[in-house]
Symmetry: C2
Subunit: 377 residues, 2 copies
Amino acid sequence: MIRAAAACSGGLLGRAGAALWCAATSRGFAAAGSAAAEPYKVGLIGLGRMGARMAPRLLDAGHDLVVNDSNGLAVERIREIGAQHPNGSVTVRDSPAALAATPGVGAVLTVLPDPASLTEVFTGARGLLAAPGGLRPSLFINISTVDPDTARRLAERVARAQLAPGAAPLTASGRPALLDAPATGGVAGAEGGALCFSVGAADAADIGAARPLLRVLGSHITHCGPVGAGSVAKLCNALVMSSTMVAVAEALALGKRLNLDPAVLTDVLLSGSGRSWVVEKNNPAPGVAADSPASNGYRPGQQVDQVREQLLMLIAAGERVHSPTPMAKFAEEQYRVLHDEGVGGKDFSAIYRYRYGSGCDNAEWKSGEQLFSSQIP
Amino acid sequence: MIRAAAACSGGLLGRAGAALWCAATSRGFAAAGSAAAEPYKVGLIGLGRMGARMAPRLLDAGHDLVVNDSNGLAVERIREIGAQHPNGSVTVRDSPAALAATPGVGAVLTVLPDPASLTEVFTGARGLLAAPGGLRPSLFINISTVDPDTARRLAERVARAQLAPGAAPLTASGRPALLDAPATGGVAGAEGGALCFSVGAADAADIGAARPLLRVLGSHITHCGPVGAGSVAKLCNALVMSSTMVAVAEALALGKRLNLDPAVLTDVLLSGSGRSWVVEKNNPAPGVAADSPASNGYRPGQQVDQVREQLLMLIAAGERVHSPTPMAKFAEEQYRVLHDEGVGGKDFSAIYRYRYGSGCDNAEWKSGEQLFSSQIP
């Protein structure tokens, strides 16, 4: 293992201001309330579009990773990156249980695509909680977007689990704990270390223990309340973001058919009460924002189907507490059109093309060649 | 009349940087393309919530106003302000026709509540175009929000009208012209001179002639295209703003019922992909944003019924060009609930209380005392 001082000299840290950044992000030492103050390894389960982009950042910051994913190719890619990395190493484990039994692993990040796979990673026959001899890690940070009930249920299971004899806990209580820390910002945020974490925690002190890791990956950490509150915040953010996208796409498409250039309308929206992240950073009209998914073939970004799943989770959460969610239901219906067209894997801004391009002849619409050709008479 | 140099010493202009501001906003001299370069009076028709807030700013900037409104009380208020104002004067005319026949009036601003009243102001029996002896003003700047067809139709009528003999035109063509210059920013924007104008003009040079007046009232001027394009942009902005509000209200209400503080959720939204003007400046949860309508009894701001009318105009414009507007229709339905509850005069952010508070007992809901009392079990 590389010492923190060495970590500070390489990768992302070789910059002006590195010393300050190092102080906040040098790899973990056990937090207040725990006995030992030794560097720990970081478990990372889930090497999909988000997790695969987090791993290099964690290595750059000097963390040694112990990874697991059911996708062998994804594992190989990270193993290769680790083999050549100057700051951190990558060790592969063939199950979450084996990962959780690995000596030196203090914290585990889970980055799974849905509640079912996250639940399997924790409670499956070869899940984290089935670690032979008890859990080595004590701090579980779930970055996957799940419904609040799943987050709470897993947190209860984790709180009842046993640490392995001799494991040095990072949590304030000295017992295993799960933090609910879903992230907004998508693939671009994961790549740039600009994710925003909304965190739920049974014990606020545990957020302090998680902070050095989260700060490697993100720019904002908001403590939302107890476990589950982070997921509520994430789903609410998804509702606002995805509904705003429907409105912006509808407005830009209508404007275009009325001979108003999407770039000009974007200027109007950004100058006043139509301003939003969606308009500025994820503008759905190709060519308006240079780095947007729309300007890159609607490569996600945040996939239509993921956005839909989050809306469905939010709708279910609303039903449980009798809170009306007509907008979530409406927005989900709009994105379902894209799913039914077979483009559920594209960025959610593709709604501009595949929902609002539909005034054109169908063949033209699909080819996109003469998109929005029906101009004002 | 007060000379421009005097205007610069008083009111809003008595500040650091006044010289620079003066250069841009000193009262109008005829624009390039016209013969004379003399100060002109400004006509202002419509002294409602928006117009009444524009008048003092125009006086502060040294403009002499000639006003008309069918509401005698509104006229009296502005007359009194004018009587005591050090920089500018107020003259009252009892009809748009009389206003347009007043010597020295170069430009006319119209700030009416709807397309019908704007049309009446221009084409009615005592309308602007019925000015005895022809039009004294040449530059008509319509700030009212109307459908693009109404804007285009009136612009055509204005272009065919005759100037009075000896009137010094401000327009590039030397003929009367109407600019389509609806504003976003609502009452707060009008009060603070922070409106954003989306402008349509047959001749872009006329925007230069209008700019000194618009800069007294606003912070952004975007040239959108020919006449009508400004209205399209305004309606599209209204769609985005009002739909975002529905989503934000739904998210904050759901979060509250799931024990997530609206202020905390607001922090999460603002830190990432849920960011918008609505969340930041017009947050619908009381107490979250200090100066928001929600924190002031939902005093508008932008009235529910005005937002609804704009959505209906947009839907009609969409139907003409076969552009789908499901979001506009959905949002209009949500705001209609408020109209039906008799709160169409409140700020549109009141949807948080009157649409999303409806999970509670009806009496509590209406009193608002135990709003959102149905918490998570």
